[in-house]
């Protein structure tokens, strides 16, 4: 089923952040590279933090019909 492209997953964000921090902690970076990595890291941290702060525990349900089609609706149980 077609979906809008999704933002990177939380685990992808954290993996990239780990990588950025490891490279920043390494020895072979010039300041420009370090700044770029830092900027990216801050951006990703901000995104991850936003997700934690704004998460709202959404619940939906999948309804299937006899023909095997299904649709997704908000769950109001």
């Amino acid at each position: 089923m077609a979906r809008a492209p999704e933002p990177p997953s939380f685990s992808a964000q954290l993996e990239r952040l780990e990588e950025i921090v490891r490279r920043l902690e390494g020895q072979d970076l010039d300041l420009d590279e370090a700044l770029k990595l830092f900027e990216e890291g801050v951006e990703r941290l901000r995104d991850a933090r936003e997700r934690l702060l704004t998460a709202e525990a959404k619940v939906k349900q999948v309804l299937a019909d006899e023909a095997g089609k299904f649709r997704i609706e908000d769950f109001d149980g």
Partner: protein, 385 residues
């Protein structure tokens, strides 16, 4: 039985009864004289017909009885009895008129062997799953660390779903729960669960499935011991947690699933990280990020270092303490970035090797250096004295 039929007329050939008269009368006598009762004996000559009805003989050393168990009764049983099995049947004695045969119409059948038919069916299905490698521990997949979308296959109005919703909302509200409704007990439950599990692969974008059931009787647990339900669990393309909710009985679904949880709440806890722990990880990363950059930008920049450290530390502590308090501090991370500092009009002076120039003594007359401003770098030189 013909109302006007006279028993005493049949003492003479002229008053002879028809065959049907006799079987009809005999049936009435048997059914009036023998109420439904429990009978025990050994099964022999068992045969399941195309119609779904079962035919067999019950016997002991002295005698035998023909038995029929109709499909509408035997469909409740997990497996058919085998020849030689000792069983109890609850049956109505009757006479099958067409064959003139005395027989039992069996309403209920219990095996007297350990675990009975349920155990027999369980072992048969388990052996079949093992043959296909579905019980191999190497098949078990690791659960995703930060699930985005979790499918829950369970009854939409059951306690299991409410528990899973509550635990997920508390621990990891980042995840979206997708309920795929299925009855989890009673007739037709197995088929509904199989259909719901099959949907998982089609919906897409799911990281994990919880197959859940609240409390309930041990008999109701049988749904999760159907071989086809276990196979449907095995066929799910993402990891499955089985939370069937019975401490003492392990079901086939539990054995095939990637993880067995004792309760639906435990399943939700196993499926999700704790947001507080994740906030602490983010805080650590923020601090390491700031220190990493400070180390890169030279020993001389203690001040930038301290500023970054303090900000990262402050944010880190707040994240750990209370992630909600963070909402107020939204702008702080912006301040972390040296590019933002440059954007406010500050510039960074560095020599040809990238060392930051902070003191007059580092800038003798005539020295060429580079000036980093918000959108790039320019070449510069200290004016000759």
């Amino acid at each position: 039985m013909g109302v006007g039929l006279d028993l005493f007329s049949a003492i003479a050939p002229e008053g002879a009864w028809s065959v049907g008269d006799v079987t009809r009368r005999a049936r009435a006598v048997i059914e009036a004289g023998l109420v439904p009762l429990w009978v025990r004996g050994e099964v022999s000559g068992f045969k399941a017909w195309q119609s779904g009805h079962w035919y067999f003989t019950l016997r002991d050393r002295a005698a035998q009885l023909r038995c029929v168990m109709f499909q509408k009764e035997n469909r409740r049983l997990p497996a058919a009895p085998r020849d030689g099995m000792q069983v109890f049947v609850f049956a109505r004695p009757t006479l099958w008129e067409e064959k003139g045969e005395f027989r039992l119409t069996v309403l209920e059948l219990l095996s007297t062997e350990a675990g009975g038919l349920w155990q027999l069916a369980f072992e048969q299905a388990k052996a079949a799953l093992a043959r296909d490698g579905l019980l191999d521990p190497a098949r078990k997949r690791p659960l995703p660390l930060y699930p985005r979308r979790i499918a829950v296959v369970t009854s939409p109005d059951g306690a299991a779903l409410r528990d899973i919703m509550a635990v997920t909302a508390r621990r990891w509200p980042v995840a979206e729960l997708l309920v795929i409704p299925a009855r989890v007990q009673g007739d037709g439950a197995a088929a509904e669960i199989c259909a719901a599990l099959a949907l998982v692969g089609r919906v897409g974008g799911l990281d994990l499935v919880i197959l859940g059931r609240g409390g309930g009787s041990r008999e109701d647990l049988w749904t999760f011991n159907h071989e086809r339900v276990a196979r449907a669990v095995a066929a799910v393309p993402v990891p499955v947690i089985s939370a069937v909710g019975h401490e003492t009985d392990v079901t086939l679904c539990d054995l095939v699933a990637d993880l067995r949880a004792a309760t639906p709440s435990a399943a939700a806890a196993a499926a999700t990280p704790d947001a507080g722990d994740v906030a602490a990880v983010l805080a650590q990363l923020a601090a390491r990020l700031a220190r990493g950059l400070a180390a890169r930008s030279g020993r001389g920049s203690e001040r930038l270092d301290r500023t970054l450290d303090r900000l990262a530390g402050a944010i880190g502590r707040r994240l750990e303490r209370d992630r909600h308090a963070l909402a107020a501090s939204g702008g702080r991370l912006d301040a972390l970035s040296p590019l933002k500092i440059l954007a406010r009009g500050y510039a960074l002076a560095r020599d040809g090797e990238g060392h930051v120039l902070k003191r007059v003594a580092q800038l003798p007359p005539g020295l060429p250096f580079r000036l980093r401003v918000s959108d790039g770098e320019v070449a510069a030189r200290v004016r000759e004295a």
